[in-house]
């Protein structure tokens, strides 16, 4: 394939996976996975919090809790949770 410096995008690193606790206020993130037991995963799934879910960080406490906005609702995530949620910056 001929080299075309204009069409070829710069080799961009895929956004790094970070724990949600490291995300900043105002950032949009996509959930990659949750490190947790079956019960926790089920409970989160029932609230629509699943890998692929996109949300924005509205407020963060150090070390927690966080307020996020997802599908027009505001959710508070406790500090135990924000460390287990692995996200990518969208």
């Amino acid at each position: 394939m001929p080299y075309n410096p204009i069409d070829s995008p710069q080799p961009q690193a895929a956004p790094a996976a970070i724990p949600l606790s490291d995300a900043d206020i105002g950032q949009e993130v996509v959930l990659s996975r949750v490190d947790g037991g079956r019960g926790l995963l089920h409970r989160l799934a029932e609230m629509g919090i699943r890998p692929g879910a996109r949300f924005r960080v509205l407020s963060k406490g150090r070390p927690g809790p966080f307020i996020i906005t997802m599908r027009h609702t505001r959710l508070v995530l406790g500090q135990g949770l924000v460390h287990r949620m692995i996200v990518r910056i969208a």
């Binding site: 079956r38 089920h42 699943r50 509205l58 407020s59 927690g64 599908r71 508070v76 406790g78 949770l81």
Partner: protein
Amino acid sequence: MKSTPLTVALLGNPNSGKTTVFNAVTGSRQRVANYPGVTVEAKHGRAGGDGEELIIVDLPGTYSLTAHSIEELVARNYIIEQSPDVVVDVLDSSNLERNLYLATQLIELGAPLVLALNMSDLARARGFEIDAPLLSELLGVPIVQTTASRKRGIDEVLATARQVGHDPAAAVAAQRKPDYGHEIEPHVRELTDRLAAHPQLAPHARWFAVKLLERDEVSAERIGKLAGPQAAQDLLADAERLAEHIESVFGDAAEIVLADRRYGYIAGACAEAVQHTAETRRQRSDRIDAIVTHPHLGLPIFAVLMYLVFQLTFALGNPLVNWLDGGKTALAGWVRHVGGEGLLVSLLADGVIEGVGAVLVFVPLIALLYVGISILEDSGYMARAAFVLDKLMHRIGLHGKSFVPMLIGFGCTVPAVMATRILETRRDRLTTMLILPLMSCGARLPVYVLLIGAFFPHRRWSIGSIEVSNQAILLFAIYVIGIALAVLAAWVLRKTVLRGEVTPFVMELPPYRLPNARGLLVHVWERSGEYVKKAGTIILAIVIVLWAMKTWPQLPAAQAESYEVRRVAAAGELTGEALDRRLAQINVEQHRAELQHSAVGRIGRGIAPVLQPCGFDWRISTALLGSFAAKEIFISQMGVIYAVDDETDQQSETLRQKLAADYPPLVGFCMMLFILIATPCVATVAVTVRESGGWKWALLQWSYLTVLAWLVTVAVFQVGSLLNIGTQPLG
């Protein structure tokens, strides 16, 4: 047409306005009842409107029908076991996708369903355009749009419920159950068919199929009961095989895949029937949130709001309490005056009126505190406060949410223990329950007020323009000591008997709403009612027992006669004022002898040596015995012990003088400490037994608090005595 009225179950997410719908539907025709065997309350009401009568059952608010919490289990058991004629699911229209999750489960359950899309005005303000007829068609469920706070749509809900109730089969047949897709759906159907072969399982076959694939233990048990252990075992084995197959295909737990699919089904319906344009209301909510959940401002704002709640409660409540207290004393005096001497009069005046009255006079304080708490709850601030406090609470192994029962605990421990239901795991509930008695409840306040008034004469200082009073500081200090001990106790409990990580929590922040006066009143009415009920039942019973223990055994006849002989002798010797004084003196001696001879006096003396290191004598020990019934009984017990020479004189002013004459301030402070920490009252023990599911935790709560009280009081008294702080009586 049925002759008995149709039963309509109300269900919905927390914050969906379900209670408002219930109040609007039933008006004042409601009552609170407990489900037998479970600890969750259900309210029943009747609704007429302009048609036939309906029975309305208000089920606990839940996000789903998975058995994550007691509320969810109660709601789903009610629907499966009691088969209400209609289920009305109340949804928050401005948060439709999340709220529809419960609806999909109700559809799966095969419940005759009506959806009430509540808070329609809020949804519109937030930019949602909902095509209700289209959504209704997509889900196959009748939908009514309501704004319950303004009573809009309520009659339509009732009318639709009647229609569905008269032909439930048609309603269920019209429902469109979530389709799990070509990978999963065949498995669900296969299992459904197998379950349907058992006639007892047939009505909810699809529900049970889904639940078995989710490995739901409660459903497995229920199937065992309905279809027999052998059949259940086969069905479970089938389900396990299918679940494993699903998991191998999707690489995720079956229950998670199924939850995903339900959301997929909802998203599909919403994509067609819901339009979202600009938001306005949210922005206002967000602006408020930016301030009240601010990292630095959040806590101070919370503290100020709490201060306002308490200030309002006591400023408005205390005059009312004093007024009621005066009325109670007058009533008891009148009964004695009219009835004269005699056991029955004594039971009525000293036992029932003084004892139960002592509890009832605090109703204004309790009600006002609940007004404050309900405003914070209904406006949506409570969820923010939980957020603000989460970090602090986390350090001691509690949840942000634990603060809600703790706050209610300042009113009365009994409803506070019940409020621990908002916590999801048993460990969190138990920890919170065990420390709740350390929140100074409304019943302890009068004891503090009496003792502070007796031992610490009012002084004021001015610091700049701020006036500080020593009494206010002391009162504040005793509340803070309680909180500090609670923090310590929670920390120790989480390191020992209730070890384990704090469960990660997810909580919805509802948009701010203006609390509606009617809902507020109902709230306050119910909660104060709980307190009054406690006074009328358990406290009444214990007051009578205590009265009997104070009255019997009576003095031997010979000894009683000796006082009579002395009285006659005095009448022969003296006249006028000297005679009155002598007679009063003899009366005091006789009553004191009677009390010492009685069961209470004997037990009080019996435990006095144990409490002696705390600085307490037999009189204080006896009064503390009474405080186990209810904290405020400490006052009336002290009153009885001291005011025995003059039955009508039970006013605190006199009691204060007598206390101050007999004990140094250090002992007064120790009494406050002991009342704060020791022996949760009988009603608290009873509710803890019920809510924790057994005597074990209630016993632990009672004993650790009593031991802690003893240790703290002994330490304070001994160190105080050693340093000679407040060891001289004032009087």
